[in-house]
Amino acid sequence: MRSLMTGNYASAYGAKLSRAEVIAAYPITPQTSIVEKLAEFVSTGELNAKFVPVESEHSAMAACIAAETAGARTYTATSSHGLTLMHEVLMWASGARLPIVMTNVSRAMAPPWSVWVDHMDSIAQRDTGWLQFFCQSNQEVLDTIIMAYKICESKGVMLPAMIIEDAFILSHTSEPVDIPDQEMVDSFLPAYAPEFKIEVGKPMGFGSLVKPDQYMEFRYKAMLGMKAAHDRILRVEQEFKQVFGREHGGLLELYRCENAEVVLLTAGSVAATAKDVVDSMRSKGVPVGLARVRAFRPFPHDEIRALGSRVAGLGVLDRSYTFGAAGAMFSEVKASLYNCPKRPVTKNYIAGLGGRDITPKTIERVFEDIQLVTKRGEESEVEWVDVAGLPRWWR
């Protein structure tokens, strides 16, 4: 059934269709309407789940961890400062190998206070052992939640996943979204059946002390889980396509990259704007393309290497900045490319922080700049885009 809905309602429908059994959440702008909708589903009986209103995001994640340990499929949603408050327990969820699925409505960190989109909150959680999916559309948000449960609950993976939706641009903007039939989702996504859970009559200790003689082996296993997630993401998406007729581009979506001389790589909703720019530049005969990082964890190193070896210039547009370094995606991309015999000129563009619009005009100028530095052979600069006081970029 097609319906007009916001990214937040798409998240709520994703969790409902996946038959989340326990939902624990704390409201925060701009995530609130996800949780409101789910509370409504539970109160009307449309969703048979236990809804746990908690006193903080730290507790929300802790409640999900407890419920997941008891064998329930769980869901939560948060944003920005809520996500960063969860930081400690995010590590707990992944270390305990609990395939919790959460939506993070990506929002800038304060101060200065902001409720608008950027990716600093999500990027700051990249080392927590969670799979991270950046979405471009509301449909992708809904579909990725369903896929994430299937990816994460598979025995070889058993890690949690964060579905990232851009604040307001997706969370509060309505788009046509296809709501799949429950029976189809049920046939695609079996019930959660973990190998280890709290069971009466089978006492076990969870999260107990492991001494230096055994700790690394557990972390090694978690690393294998994240590594296995790469192929699992691709396979589950193919299965999803067979059932629902849609796909969203694996770990790295390539848009018109065939015979492209320069490519812009980015993540999130800005990729949709960039695709329009690629279309208009291509129509004028300019060979440009767009690469969209869909999975930031696991990072698509192999896909980036394959792309990097066949383009002359690769610009990376980050919607966050790691102080003292560069945009996080840019650092990852460069790390991927370093050992390639043939690698492109790279440059980093920091744009759209705190909800600043990234317009088609800006993206066009970024493309022109990549072409310029590729010609000159300049490498690895970081430039802030659309900052008042920087005359080169200020519109």
């Binding site: 305990a96 280890f196 200790g205 557990f218 294998l224």
Partner: protein, 90 residues
């Protein structure tokens, strides 16, 4: 004994209780109870942070499998019937 990553479970779980982990070996001093002086107030039993004191008709018996010799029982005992002595001495 370190197990291969292939031998350990996916989830860090323990299939035995922590009472299997004998921690009394950490001790360098140990409590000695003068049972005749004991007034059966059970304060030592309440204060022991490791539940290493078992009461036998109200009188403390130290479970040396878990007693780490912290001395809290001795410090709290109002009738001063628990003294700490160096391990290895009588």
């Amino acid at each position: 004994m370190t197990k291969s990553y292939e031998e350990i479970p996916l989830t860090p779980i323990a299939d035995m209780p922590s009472t299997m982990n004998i921690t009394g070996l950490w001790r360098v001093i140990r409590p000695v109870v003068d049972k005749k002086k004991c007034k059966k107030c059970t304060i030592c039993w309440k204060f022991c942070p490791d539940a290493a004191i078992v009461l036998v008709e109200g009188v403390p018996e130290i479970d040396f499998r878990f007693c780490k010799g912290c001395g809290i029982c001795s410090h709290e005992c109002p009738s001063k019937c628990i003294v700490m002595v160096k391990e290895g001495s009588d």
